[in-house]
């Protein structure tokens, strides 16, 4: 049985040996991931981090005309305050009480699903939480019963918040549910001449930059799951090919479409930096028989970037990168394109599938390497001990100023494609606010001087 045919997705730990902690150098990390299994380590101090539920939310939130029903207490849907999108899914909390946690939450779940359907949802995603997992609510029975009463698809997103240490498991679980919406080609719905472009956490600016590249090649796109609808997901099974912008997050869906509907899923790099963008464009050109157009477009764009590259804004500067593995190769090259060197990397998670990515970084050598998903105290420790001129991170970057690094936030930044190279170079030269010396420190001096693996032990099985 293919992995996507079961009741739910397996954890990332089971599927690909994902680790959520590492503290060492890039070359030692490459060495540790070279075998059949990566040694798991356990933290004895942790900070709040994203779990599978939050990652599932990230996958589902952008699908309009659908409802996300969070089967838990009210707080289990609190992140909707930040994640809800004006043109995305509608959010409901089953709002389980202490009594429901004892007697079971099936009845309020049923009521909530019916309400969501009554208010116009074209598909309903029921997202699991720790309370119902511990209580062992029979969600499948409720969904089965309701499926007999309605034609609206009701899909179980079987997250629980504690089965996996890797939040990426939640992406897989949500995509597992989405695969059930996709339709096979045939029956008058033949294969289309469009590309499935998988995007989960990409911001609109980056997606617009990618869309501009596709437009230049004359390629029609089907963005999934951001800015999509059930109709976009249904037709995903009929695409010419599927490409992930961040393979760490969305490969489950790409592999699933390939296995179930024969939609090719080529490995293209995230279009970050000159080289990766060139390969991304060339790859698309290959898929859509537009190799010449891709080549001409890439040359034109590169010519237009000559001034930026010649300025070498990072000359002599060391840059610490906190990015996903799928992006690190591109960002590393981008830093070098702009004249700098990589001072260290903090990655979201690493698994056996990432070996090729990491191997391509080998030249960077003995720089610090962390796998520190949601653990800013570990990044603070490395920055305090090794220093850097710039810190490039996904969000919440102000803390780096405390250690003398200029914070560069990727939160709403443009960094995809040729356009992204110019924008990133511009972000580096933005003036630094005068308050940077006053950023408050929350960690003890003792921790900042300690060995950064002091709180870690090897997992005993």
């Amino acid at each position: 049985m293919a992995f996507h045919e079961g009741k739910s997705a397996p954890t990332r730990e089971k599927r690909s040996g994902t680790i959520s902690h590492y503290h060492g150098t890039l070359s030692s990390l490459i060495g540790d991931t070279a075998g059949e299994e990566i040694p798991q380590r356990v933290r004895t101090f942790t900070q709040a981090a994203r779990d599978d539920i939050l990652s599932a939310f990230a996958v589902l939130r952008g699908i309009r005309d659908t409802a996300i029903v969070v089967h838990g207490a009210a707080g289990c849907a609190a992140a909707s305050i930040a994640l809800a999108e004006a043109h995305g899914a509608r959010w409901y909390s089953v709002n389980l009480s202490e009594r429901d946690s004892i007697l079971g939450g099936e009845a309020p779940l049923r009521e909530t699903i019916l309400r969501a359907i009554g208010e116009g949802a074209a598909a309903v995603f029921v997202v699991g939480t720790p309370v119902v997992a511990i209580n062992n609510d029979d969600v499948s029975a409720v969904l089965q019963e309701l499926s007999d009463e309605t034609s609206v698809p009701i899909l179980h997103v079987n997250t629980d918040g504690f089965r996996s240490k890797s939040p990426l498991t939640g992406c897989d679980i949500a995509f597992h549910a989405l695969l059930r919406l996709a339709e096979e080609p045939g029956g008058g719905k033949e294969r289309g001449d469009f590309l499935n472009l998988l995007a989960v956490n990409e911001n609109a600016r980056n997606l617009a930059a990618v869309a501009a590249m596709l437009e230049a090649l004359g390629v029609a796109w089907n963005f999934l799951p951001r800015f999509s609808s059930p109709a976009h997901i249904r037709k995903a099974g009929r695409a010419r090919a599927t490409v992930s912008l961040n393979r760490d997050e969305s490969e489950y869906f790409g592999l699933g479409l390939e296995a179930a509907f024969d939609v090719p899923y080529p490995q293209l790099p995230a279009p970050i930096g000159l080289e990766a963008t060139r390969r991304f464009i060339a790859g698309l050109g290959g898929i859509f028989d537009a190799a010449d157009a891709a080549d001409i477009y890439a040359r034109q764009q590169e010519d237009a970037l000559r001034d930026v590259l010649a300025a070498r804004p990072l000359a002599g500067k060391r840059v610490f990168l906190q990015v996903d593995v799928a992006q690190v190769e591109g960002f590393g090259a981008l830093v070098r394109d702009l004249g700098g060197e990589v001072a260290g990397v903090a990655l979201g998670s690493v698994d056996l599938n990432n070996r090729a990515h990491l191997a391509r970084l080998e030249a960077a050598g003995e720089i610090p390497a962390l796998v520190a998903v949601g653990q800013p105290f570990e990044v603070a420790n490395v920055l305090a001990r090794t220093g850097a001129d710039y810190y490039v991170g996904p969000e919440q970057v102000a803390f780096a100023a405390r250690f003398g690094a200029r914070p560069v936030s990727l939160h709403d930044a443009l960094y995809y494609g040729f356009e992204g190279i110019r924008a990133f170079a511009g972000a580096l030269s933005r003036p630094v606010p005068g308050f940077r010396e006053r950023v408050r420190e929350v960690y003890s001096e003792n921790w900042l001087k300690k060995n950064g693996a002091w709180h870690v032990k090897r997992e005993v099985r």
């Binding site: 933290r43 004895t44 101090f45 942790t46 900070q47 709040a48 981090a49 994203r50 779990d51 599978d52 539920i53 939050l54 207490a73 009210a74 707080g75 289990c76 849907a77 609190a78 992140a79 909707s80 305050i81 930040a82 994640l83 004006a86 509608r90 959010w91 409901y92 909390s93 089953v94 709002n95 389980l96 009480s97 202490e98 429901d100 946690s101 309020p108 009521e111 909530t112 208010e119 720790p130 309370v131 511990i134 209580n135 918040g161 504690f162 089965r163 996996s164 240490k165 939040p167 949601g374 800013p376 105290f377 919440q396 803390f399 929350v442 960690y443 003890s444 003792n446 921790w447 709180h455």
Partner: protein
Amino acid sequence: MGNIRNPRAGCALHGALATLEAIEGVVPIVQANAGCAMQHALAYRDRGGYTVAQTVPSSNIIDKQVIFGGGSRLREQIKNTVKVMDGRLYVVVGSCECAMVGDDLIGMAREAAEQGLQVIGSNIAGFHGDIHRGYTRVFLDLIDALPELETVRGLREKGGERPLVNLFGLFPGGDPYYKGDLEELRRILEAIGLRVNSFFGPGGHAALRTLSDAALNLVFSRWGETIAARLEKKYGTPQLIFDAAPLGIEEVSLFAQALVERLDLDATGAERFLEREEVLAEYFLLGAANRYFDEGAGKRAAIVGDSETVLRIGGFLSRFAAVDIRTAIYTDCGEEDALPVDFGGAAHATGDGGEIADLLCGSGADLIFASSLETEVARELGVPLLTVSHPVHDRMIGDRTYAGLRGAVALGADYLTLARQGRRAAAEKLARKLAAG
């Protein structure tokens, strides 16, 4: 309880976390799976006015600890939190999982305290209620557990020339403007001769250590009443309860008068302060008197928020600017609660985004005072919105206040700005219609 569309208020754990994070020197430690505290961080982070970062210590329990218990994981988390995070008091808070599994977090906190660490526990779970209940519950636990710590015992500051008052009922999550509101109340109270423990902000930990020294506990919402009652029982501290924080010169005068009488303060000093404040308020507010009559007075409004917010802001608007509050929606009242005030219009109790949108659509309001979650419905209705209740994410709040005297000036100005926006939108719509023939 019933399901909720577009939930706005998190859970009791989130209320406890918002409270603890806002007290300087206090570090919460969450015994939960990784996402519980992260949900809170995402919900509150970058929302106007809050102090939340993704640095909350959390044991991030996994299935092994759910099955076999998370006690030993919590023990190592407490021990190492003290080493990694700068803090003066560490508060272990629970979660739904922790409650269902039966982890003894109070015992673990006590064990750490016996070793001389400044650690206490609060047996809270998300399903105990919303953020308001979380605030009340964690404060009750602080009051009960603080005396067990050596640094609190024997360090109580007694006496002093000016009486000390504790402020309860305004808190992050309940009041998005809590920073500015509490500072404005402090300014007024200090001016009439009092010292103030507001707990949130600079000096928060020191305020906790002296809370039993207060001459009086001032309560500004129903969510502070149990806290004051506990302090009265424990330390004999009397209390003065208000439905909401005072807003506007009349309310503040009554408030000050009540305190002067209760604590036998220098009435002349208080009067002099209020006289000067009245002159200033008139200077700022009545300079725009013509605008009130030209375009501001008597507007129809709808207001959405917790009971304290609705009573304070709705009360001021109807008194001062003769605003006709057509619909008042209380988001923290259950079906069993009596609705506080209807302002002569309709009052409703719901925190459900769908119901609130429907009520606003049927309200006939010219202006909406609500949260950022009402942005979409306000846009659909073409009605200006001022975000006064949680959550607020369309503006950075800084020290802005809608309480006391400065808050009245700020709200008066914002009200007029909103009224002008509404008038302009209506005029443009009319002009388009006329131009189209």
